[in-house]
């Protein structure tokens, strides 16, 4: 195993744990993006460029857009509910 591969694996392990352990959802989304980039690097050093390309488009554009919009909706709902309650 090359140093690059070991480093990419370590990055995946750490950021993967980070996604789970991050408390704030927005921060978690950001960590998820970093995790996606770590996976992409791993796929590159595993000689899988097709997979790496897929992973990068999904994890930097495809999913974060949806997650952030969903979070925004949730937050807005919470605010509306609070205003209604007052």
């Amino acid at each position: 195993m090359t140093v690059l591969q070991a480093a990419a694996l370590a990055a995946v392990a750490l950021t993967g744990g980070g996604v789970v352990l991050a408390t704030d959802p927005v921060r978690q989304t950001l960590v998820l993006g970093v995790f996606g980039i770590a996976l992409t690097m791993l796929f590159f050093v595993f000689q899988a460029p097709d997979v790496a390309l897929s992973e990068i488009v999904v994890s930097t554009v495809g999913l974060p857009v949806m997650i952030l919009l969903a979070l925004r909706k949730v937050r807005r709902q919470e605010r509306d509910r609070k205003e209604e309650g007052e």
């Binding site: 195993m1 097709d50 488009v57 495809g62 949806m66 969903a70 509306d80």
Partner: protein, 253 residues
């Protein structure tokens, strides 16, 4: 179960599952020592018989094209699912927040960001198309390219124009692209059945390896997938976008 009981039970169970997983994975050949027969056969016949140089794409759209058919319909079905799940909210009791809908600013998009995003659009589209049609030669293919293509209209939104994005990529158009792409992919398979006698059997000229119009059905399949993926992601994004922008009429404002 209380949270505590749940976590204790999970802790014990996870330790057990960890042992099971490690036992199983320990039987794998050492990392880097793989000599599976399937990959070798594909390496041998992929270029000669399919005239494709990217064997992953050749597998995806030819040898194992049938898997990809299932995959495309997972995408298709899930996006229908997103539409189905979020559909109720767009009826009469919700409407776009006026000021934001007309000139939506995404997280305080500055002028510089807008200019950048606008500049991004043609680049994204060109890159997307390139990746879709070169799938059989170099890394990439319908899925990756399609997603990048869909990011074009998304950049319009980043540039701060919600309504304009809806005009550039109306919801119905995304939906039709999604369905037509999925169907197109199935039709590639059916073409094989009609013209070559077997479902997904190549019925198009193979061309010269490395050239744009090579590898038979792979290119057509890749374009169909690209269409589907860009439609699918547009629909999904715009559903979530509607969610984030629509508000209840009887709400605070």
């Amino acid at each position: 179960m209380t949270r505590r009981t749940r976590l204790v039970m999970f802790g014990i169970a996870a330790a057990g599952l960890g042992v099971v997983l490690i036992y199983g994975l320990a039987g794998l050949p050492a990392f880097g020592d793989y000599h599976g027969v399937y990959g070798h056969v594909i390496d041998r016949i992929g270029v000669t018989e399919r005239h494709a140089t990217d064997l992953v794409t050749a597998l995806n759209f030819d040898f194992r094209a049938f898997d990809t058919l299932g995959e495309e319909f997972i995408l298709f079905g899930s996006v229908l699912g997103v539409v189905l799940i979020l559909r109720e909210v767009r009826d009469d009791h919700e409407r776009p927040r006026q000021q934001e809908a007309e000139e939506h600013s995404f997280a305080g998009a500055s002028a510089a960001l807008r200019a950048m995003a606008l500049g991004l659009i043609p680049t994204l589209i060109a890159l997307g198309v390139y990746i879709v049609v070169h799938g059989q030669i170099t890394p990439g293919g319908g899925f990756q390219g399609g997603l990048i293509l869909a990011a074009g209209p998304l950049a319009v939104f980043l540039a701060g124009r919600y309504v304009r994005m809806k005009r550039v990529a109306p919801h119905a158009m995304g939906e039709i692209g999604d369905a037509a792409g999925a169907m197109g992919y199935a039709l590639v398979g059916l073409g094989g059945l009609v013209f070559a006698g077997v479902f997904f059997k190549n019925f198009l000229p193979l061309g010269i390896p490395g050239h744009l119009l090579s590898a038979g059905q792979i290119d057509v399949a890749s374009v169909a997938v690209g269409l589907e993926v860009s439609g699918a992601f547009l629909v999904a994004w715009s559903e979530f976008l509607d969610q984030a922008i629509l508000v209840r009429r009887n709400g605070a404002r």
